[in-house]
Assembly symmetry: C2
Amino acid sequence: MTDTPSKGTATRRGFLKAGLTGGVALAGAAAAGRAVAAGDPLITEVQDWNRYPGDGVDARPYGTPSQFEAGVVRKNVAWLTADPISSVNFTPLHELDGIITPSGLCFERHHAGIAEIDPASHRLMINGLVDKPLVFTMADLKRFPRHNKVYFLECAANSGMEWRGAQLNGCQFTHGMIHCVMYTGVLLKDILAEAGVTTAGKWVLAEGADASAMTRSIPLEKALDDCMVAFAMNGEALRPEQGYPLRLVVPGWEGNMWVKWLRRLEVGDQPWQQREETSKYTDLLANGKARRFTWAMDVKSVITSPSPQAPITHGRGRTVLSGLAWSGNGTIKRVDVSVDGGRNWHTARIDGPSLSLALHRFYYEFDWDGSELFLQSRAIDEQGFVQPTKNALRAARGENSIYHNNGIQTWHVSKDGVVENVEIS
Amino acid sequence: MTDTPSKGTATRRGFLKAGLTGGVALAGAAAAGRAVAAGDPLITEVQDWNRYPGDGVDARPYGTPSQFEAGVVRKNVAWLTADPISSVNFTPLHELDGIITPSGLCFERHHAGIAEIDPASHRLMINGLVDKPLVFTMADLKRFPRHNKVYFLECAANSGMEWRGAQLNGCQFTHGMIHCVMYTGVLLKDILAEAGVTTAGKWVLAEGADASAMTRSIPLEKALDDCMVAFAMNGEALRPEQGYPLRLVVPGWEGNMWVKWLRRLEVGDQPWQQREETSKYTDLLANGKARRFTWAMDVKSVITSPSPQAPITHGRGRTVLSGLAWSGNGTIKRVDVSVDGGRNWHTARIDGPSLSLALHRFYYEFDWDGSELFLQSRAIDEQGFVQPTKNALRAARGENSIYHNNGIQTWHVSKDGVVENVEIS
């Protein structure tokens, strides 16, 4: 695609903090509306859509977006992986608002492509250290008490390329391995109780029915806490690329553990040391050792507009800055925003439901004076964790990591409103 | 479509309350899972989706439901109106769960079909009793502070055919003129403030840009309270059939007032007495007089499963009853469920966020003993309003009405699990 980002050579662009200036006028903002002009053809002319009737209620049994929104899509980056069946695409965060991600735009990460499962043939087996090994059909599972929860799902590798400097020019690519939907399903603890976990049982292995047979180990404590086996998202059946007909939901923890196309849960007394929790999804430190079992996603935020794919096109004056914040520790307590690269911080306005382990939407309305800006956001969660700078993360963990980069992102806004992914030091 | 309901002649089926029996066993429910059977081919065989990789991340820029969900669609009823461009289709409530309606399944009600508007050409004008008549582009509007709210939208005519007895066999058709999404937009009061409403201004006329130029009068008090001008639903741009690029949001009030394809707001000193608020959307009483300006939607609920389109197929034992409740007065405080036609009531479990003026999801888990049931639900809102019986409504308003039927719905479950829309007296 023409707007797929190029790969940064080392650091996309560096700025010295000393050179930063403010960019917010203190005077009252200019009016956003225009005076009614007698001759404006867009007021006086009758457009076709006001002249002729459109499609009736029989035309679209399942609706799709407007033709004018054709650019609002998930995008993959061809050079990122060897094959699109084991790859990722990215949620277009810069085009979205609110806290719900439309199901059709939730990023995908597959290890062997999308399994197209007939739900009538699907089974979930529970085996291992249980009193009664059991098999459930989809209909069986829907006889357990159901629960509805809005949760974010973030890939552990989200923002992973940013460890080594500003790489990809757009929040879709730097932060788009996240989505947030309402799940409906049953509690994992309820179906485990049916099988009866023995006293020796300490871990649960979740296994997918796709051609990669994705497998991850989950501590029993988490499994019995808030994990769900979900069959619906945003009110309807799961989408195929999100695990239809059944996905494990592991609230607040890294996306790879939310096994899609879930077909088996085995109870054991120790972790299985699968590929996806040893050679992958571990964090290689500067000294060559690795952090492992880093499951919870840290407090994080990103400004989605203005951003490289959503420049300022209206010139100076009233400007809406919008972004997302989230934490694997619960709710977001506060988001700070800076327009001068972290010198001064302003409390953003969080708007919309504040739900534990869900995305939070924040806004900061300001009056842009037309000078260059360095936009940053910093989230603070209900446990008091504060989103760190990228350099603080690098000092602690080196630059070998791929996973768990929750560093503060910087967007540079030029005087003409163009926005670029930069680092400041 | 083959499963489009036939029109009832007078009353689909009547039952005398005297004949009702209970149907809930008190003993512990049987296990929902099945013992692992060594020879079950669905456990031992490797299916194609586990054998071969599927589509990669480049295949579906905008995702769609599984092929196995092809029946989960909006449906219209051909005999209901003369032409599908001025008609309605219905949300498949019986297939959905949670409180969010997927955008592609939100019911449609058009008066001249779907306007296909180029947002670059769209304008919103404010005129009438204002200091400064103004025109806004879409970009102008996005410079006001944005807000995110989950609201239900119910057509005033939802359940309208039920005034004269049980008519349509399925909650999709009896109650499917409702949806609930997260809206993002700006407050109507903020853009009215920009134009400056004069002291004489008491009413606002909202006008659509479609070929019907839908117009409704809204009291200024409501306009300045919680009305929004929304440009997004469930995170993305409004869908064309829901008013893209701009819709008026009138929380808790009848859907017809939520003018789609919003192009003009005129401030006046009295209502305009438009067709849609005089000959339509008024409630004809038994004495020939009409109730008018009945804007707020009353407290209401419906059991979505079991229901005529979602029969019980698993036989006796553990059964999940699920439904929706809502009120134009705020949140839902309690939902009662009866399985014996209103003789005995059980408090349902409300699950998921309880948001003001949004759908609430409720469940009642019970152990079905295989006898016939008469399922009912009764919602009570935060202001203490209780959903009435249909007969109480008829006693108060006669049977001429089309609009604002919030009566208690009854589903009859036969011993073989078949469910039918009935009335009991």
